[in-house]
């Protein structure tokens, strides 16, 4: 039994992670198409494609600029909520994480109706000044929306770096006579540099990975990036583009390795032991300024997140496109037509829900044995497996999706049965993609868990199953809930993988929003976007509240 489990641990990643990626490489080299040996034809055709230089340039420009913007916003936000006595801190913390909870395509829809060429803001300006001031179409709009939706990554990393700084470092500087501003700039800021560097890599990788934003904003305005180009080669043009798409995916995959390469070179900063020394953190009193700060971040959040969501809500209530909304013509017709005119919406919600539930359960289940070994019995093989498990998430989703598509689309030999078009092929992509989140969930849990507890159980005569069920699992409830919710939300609102893999008879809600938007059904897609926003926020608010009540905020602070 144990042996079988160990073998599975080894074979499953090879079959479902390495094999599809290997397959992608061989398809791009033309191995599958009857000719003997390797051919570079697909790469040659790619090089001749006059579009490609522009596409790569767009991709890199968007990734770099949005990363810088995310870093700046995230770091500012982290300093404000962690190092100042700003009122309503707990609330701001949640507000700053908000964009990560919303699927990026919903933010794109919302933002277009807010600040797009004919958005709410331009409408007001037109009314007030008689002309519009900006035209946020195209690449700049992509950059802004991308920066907003990746800002929480930077925020969370910088925040935990700031919170890890021991108070006595700042005390020492204070005692040596430094003013608070100097303490801040010469002690606190330098210590956040490693976190900033890590955040930069993550934001960059996420920008390469993102499909929702360039698909919703870029495709209509003719701005193509690598992820949308792969999508168009497979879905848009159809015939005979698989080899080229595979070659493109290999190039994209290599590009996404840049941040991974740099990751190894980054100075990881000193590790502070949490036990010793003064655990209290220092915060800076802003005096009267704090109300100005509240006003500023209030406006900032209003402009970047809340305003767009309201614009989307208002549009979903308008009777027709281009007709101004008033109290008397307000209508819920588009919400109703989501259910009556479009049976695919209900089916898509059901499918995505099922996919998310199954993925979450399977990922957490399969991650358990590996995570246990990572913590309790690490070996080079286990570390290697841990690394393999992270690959499907580090690679851009479009690359993983194409690898899965090319691998499992062909009918099972001897039958006419293919996995394509059903739920299975989506699960074969979702589960490897989110597997690493399962591992992280359990390793974090084990890291703060003493083995003595399990040993005590064994001494008391309980078998391994009983110990797991009665002792280990109950202790891991918080982590399981947090990690599980994250996987569930990611799978529920997934668009990138499913845009390639969803069949005509089994679609996901992300794909349905996308097809509505491309069909120009703006009012209905705004309505569906609003529904999705409420669902995801409702779920995460519930979980957050539960976890926060658990924690009951034990932090202490001293003011300087």
């Amino acid at each position: 039994m144990k042996r079988i489990a160990s073998w599975c641990l080894f074979i499953l990643p090879i079959l479902f992670i390495i094999y599809p990626l290997w397959n992608l490489l061989t398809v791009s080299l033309g191995v599958s198409t009857m000719q003997q040996g390797i051919s570079l034809t697909a790469y040659g055709q790619l090089l001749q494609d006059p579009q490609l230089p522009t596409v790569i340039q767009n991709t890199l420009y968007i990734a770099v600029v949005s990363t810088i913007a995310s870093l700046f916003m995230g770091a500012m936000a982290a300093i404000l909520t962690e190092k100042t006595d700003i009122p309503g801190r707990q609330g701001w913390r949640l507000v700053f994480i908000l964009p990560v909870l919303l699927p990026s395509y919903v933010i794109s829809i919302a933002w277009q109706h807010w600040a797009g060429p004919v958005g709410l803001v331009n409408g007001w300006l037109q009314h007030l000044l008689g002309r519009t001031i900006w035209n946020f179409a195209g690449i700049h709009e992509i950059v802004i929306v991308m920066a907003i939706s990746h800002m929480p990554i930077a925020y969370l990393l910088v925040r935990s770096a700031i919170n890890a700084i021991p108070g006595h470092l700042e005390d020492a500087a204070r005692i040596a006579g430094a003013r608070p501003v100097i303490v801040f700039t010469s002690v606190v800021l330098p210590l956040t540099v490693p976190a900033l560097a890590n955040a930069a890599l993550l934001c960059f990788a996420s920008a390469l990975d993102n499909f929702g934003i360039p698909a919703f904003i870029g495709i209509p305005s003719g701005i193509t990036v690598l992820s949308t180009l792969i999508y168009q080669k497979v879905i848009g043009l159809g015939n005979g583009q698989f080899e080229q798409a595979a070659a493109l995916a290999v190039v994209t995959g290599l590009l996404s390795m840049i941040p991974v390469y740099f990751q190894g070179k980054i100075f990881h900063g000193p590790k502070y032991s949490r036990e010793e020394g003064n655990r209290e953190k220092r915060i800076y009193l802003m005096g009267k300024w704090k109300w100005l700060l509240v006003l500023l971040i209030g406006i900032w959040q209003g402009v970047t997140v809340i305003g767009p969501c309201i614009a989307m809500l208002l549009l979903s209530l308008a009777p027709a496109y281009g007709v101004p909304l008033t109290l008397s013509n307000l209508t819920f017709a588009h919400y109703i037509s989501l259910w009556t005119d479009t049976p695919v919406v209900a089916a898509g919600l059901k499918n995505s829900l099922l996919l998310a539930l199954i993925s979450t359960v399977v990922v957490l289940l399969f991650a358990w044995p590996l995570a246990r070994r990572i913590v309790l019995a690490p070996s080079s093989l286990i570390t290697f497996l841990d690394g393999i498990a992270a690959v499907p998430y580090c690679l851009p989703g479009m690359v993983v999706g194409l690898a899965v598509l090319l691998t499992w689309i062909h009918p099972i030999p001897g039958t006419s049965f293919s996995l394509y078009g059903g739920m299975t092929i989506l699960l074969l992509a979702y589960i490897p993609r989110f597997y690493t989140f399962g591992i992280r969930t359990w390793t974090t849990a084990w890291a703060r868990f003493s083995l003595h507890m399990e040993e005590a159980g064994h001494v008391a005569g309980a078998g391994p199953m009983t110990v797991t069920r009665r002792i280990t699992l109950p202790m891991f409830r918080e982590e399981a809930l947090g990690g599980g919710t994250l996987i569930f939300l990611l799978a529920f609102t997934e668009l990138t993988l499913s845009s390639l893999l969803a069949g005509s008879q089994f679609s996901t809600i992300g794909v349905i929003v996308f097809s509505m938007e491309t069909a120009g059904r703006a009012l209905e897609s705004a309505a569906l976007g609003t529904v999705l926003t409420l669902l995801t926020l409702g779920l995460s608010a519930g979980v957050c509240k539960y976890l926060l009540d658990e924690k009951n905020s034990e932090e202490k602070e001293t003011k300087i």
């Binding site: 497979v234 698989f242 005119d341 919600l349 069909a519 120009g520 519930g542 539960y546």
Partner: protein, 345 residues
Amino acid sequence: MIKPGKIQSLLLWLLFMTTILLAGCGAQQTAATTGKSGEISGKLQVYTSQPDSDISKLVAGFAKKYPQVQVEVFRSGTEEVIARINTEMKAGKIGADVLFLADAPTFEALKVQNLLLDYQSGELKGVKQELLDTDHMYSPTKMIPIGIVINTNKVRELDKVDWNTLSESENKGQTVMPSPLYSGAAAYNLGIFRNQSELGWNYYEKLKKNQVMVVKGNGDVIKRVASGEKSFGIVVDFMAFNAAKQGSPVAFVYPKTGSAVITEPVGIVKTTQNAAAAKAFVDFVLSAEGQQLAVQQGYLPVNKDVNAPEGRSAAAALKILNAPIKKLVEQRDVDKKDFTVLFGG
């Protein structure tokens, strides 16, 4: 410490949300299976490029007549539906029973690949002979001219609008059109224009120079003109009339130079497992009842015994631009490639 009650209430809440969603779907499925018994039954998969609301009303009408047939619809742009079918062929099985797509050349291409089933519907009597496929592989269902939609707040002189208006420098950056890489109507329009001496490929180059915006579907064109983001759009007629009816500030112009007209043919896939239901569906679309339904949705009917929507010039009054269909089929791949090069996909 953790209160056990909390996690339970959370789980209950999740379960509750799940049930609501599932209940909504379940209700719809049962609605499709109950009803009087008929001879024709089973599942029928329709791939179409019709707008969701139009196809769902058509399917509802069909379901009333054949309550035993469960119709499922997959909707996307014509070119994406074809890409989907190509992908499905690699997977070994085409999921569709009935194809209901924008234009005849698309079906001609499918015919050449031997993917269609020969079926001559009894309901074709009222249709003009020259629109019919001589091999009976597909049947025209509507007349959909492609013309210009304008925003009535921005453009006042409707009479002067023609194709050349869109390439005039005073209207720079004011036009939006659908992509032939997604929309079958746009692909057809491109093919037809290329074969007209007064328009030609040159016209698309002029549009590019005039900073035309290319979006995916016709619906998106309407959206951008209705909102005032653009003043002019190249679009299929019924969408513009429907938007105007809903209150959007738009109007439609049939250009004097002429219009390409797509016929939105319907055809049956050769590998269908339910030919009886597929044939019944084709008959229903072409029947007086199906044509009336199309008229209610703002389409010009293909059956000359059925009247055009109120206030619309009948199909006969239009100047129609034409080209040999074989030529259009042969050209399409080149058209799409040239378009990609000119507009960058």
